[in-house]
């Protein structure tokens, strides 16, 4: 038996907060652990922001789909968008050896997701990017 939630987010910065609030309410109602909630909210912000900034060349409205699933003691989250092909799983790691002034700001959000999630996978399906994150609840 599993529970699921789907949220459609417009590709605009002000669409992130309402999506985050809705996800947080649902996760808290399902007694998901704070650590897992943190990952979910971070993923929404980092992946949607990335998509908004880099995903599209046009000014049209696009929809980013967030799907949450709870089953077998794990939260699964899938983020699907129809922007440019972008594989965050294989995106380069930020270079932590760089001198402070040279440290790039890109890639940090994706790096955080990689470290916090138990699994992170990517596939390009039907012209869409699909990122899947799994976080197992400590039981």
């Amino acid at each position: 038996m599993g529970e699921s939630l789907t949220i459609e987010v417009r590709n605009t910065q002000d669409a992130i907060a309402p999506a985050t609030e809705e996800a947080e309410r649902w996760l808290e109602a399902h007694e998901v652990s704070p650590r897992t909630i943190y990952l979910a909210l971070l993923a929404i912000e980092e992946l949607v922001t990335n998509c908004i900034h880099y995903g599209y060349d046009d000014t049209a409205e696009h929809t980013i789909r967030l799907e949450f699933g709870l089953a077998d003691g794990a939260l699964t989250m899938e983020v699907t968008d129809d922007g440019h092909e972008f594989d965050p799983v294989n995106a380069p790691e930020p270079d932590f050896s760089l001198e402070l002034e040279d440290r790039p700001v890109g890639g940090l959000g994706i790096h955080m997701l990689r470290k916090l999630a138990d699994e992170m996978t990517y596939e390009r399906v039907d012209g869409k990017n699909r990122v899947r994150l799994v976080k197992r609840q400590g039981l």
């Binding site: 907060a17 309402p18 943190y38 909210l41 700001v105 940090l108 959000g109 955080m112």
Partner: protein
């Protein structure tokens, strides 16, 4: 639900023993970071070798929030000093650690230790 009003200031700056102590509340993310950056820029109008960040009230930090903190780190670095943080909630500390920021900061358990560990 869209908000067209400016975001409530996420931080206030106190001056303690000549050191700016930035008390940050709530979320430091893509939504609140711009307002925070404006406040931080006002603080950074003068040079500081030491800035302390009170993170006790921070509930969430994303890469956008970490970038805001990085600006303060660079600011104190330019004066040959360091930025310190104290009273960091566990989840926020984890975010700082996985982001590779730990070596860039002095991390204190509380305000008193942070102030004692700082010299003007």
């Amino acid at each position: 639900m869209t908000s067209t009003s400016p975001e409530t200031s996420p931080a206030r700056v106190e001056c303690v023993q000549g050191i700016p102590v930035v008390v940050i509340s709530g979320r430091l993310d893509t939504h609140t970071a711009p307002a925070f950056d404006v406040q931080a820029a006002q603080m950074m109008a003068e040079k500081h070798a030491r800035v302390l960040l009170d993170l006790s009230g921070v509930t969430f930090i994303s890469s956008a929030g970490l970038r805001s903190i990085l600006q303060i780190i660079k600011h104190t670095n330019r004066s040959g000093g360091r930025t310190g943080i104290f009273s960091v909630p566990e989840q926020i500390l984890e975010a700082i650690e996985i982001s590779g920021f730990q070596p860039l900061l002095d991390i204190f358990p509380d305000r008193e230790t942070a102030l004692n560990g700082s010299s003007v």
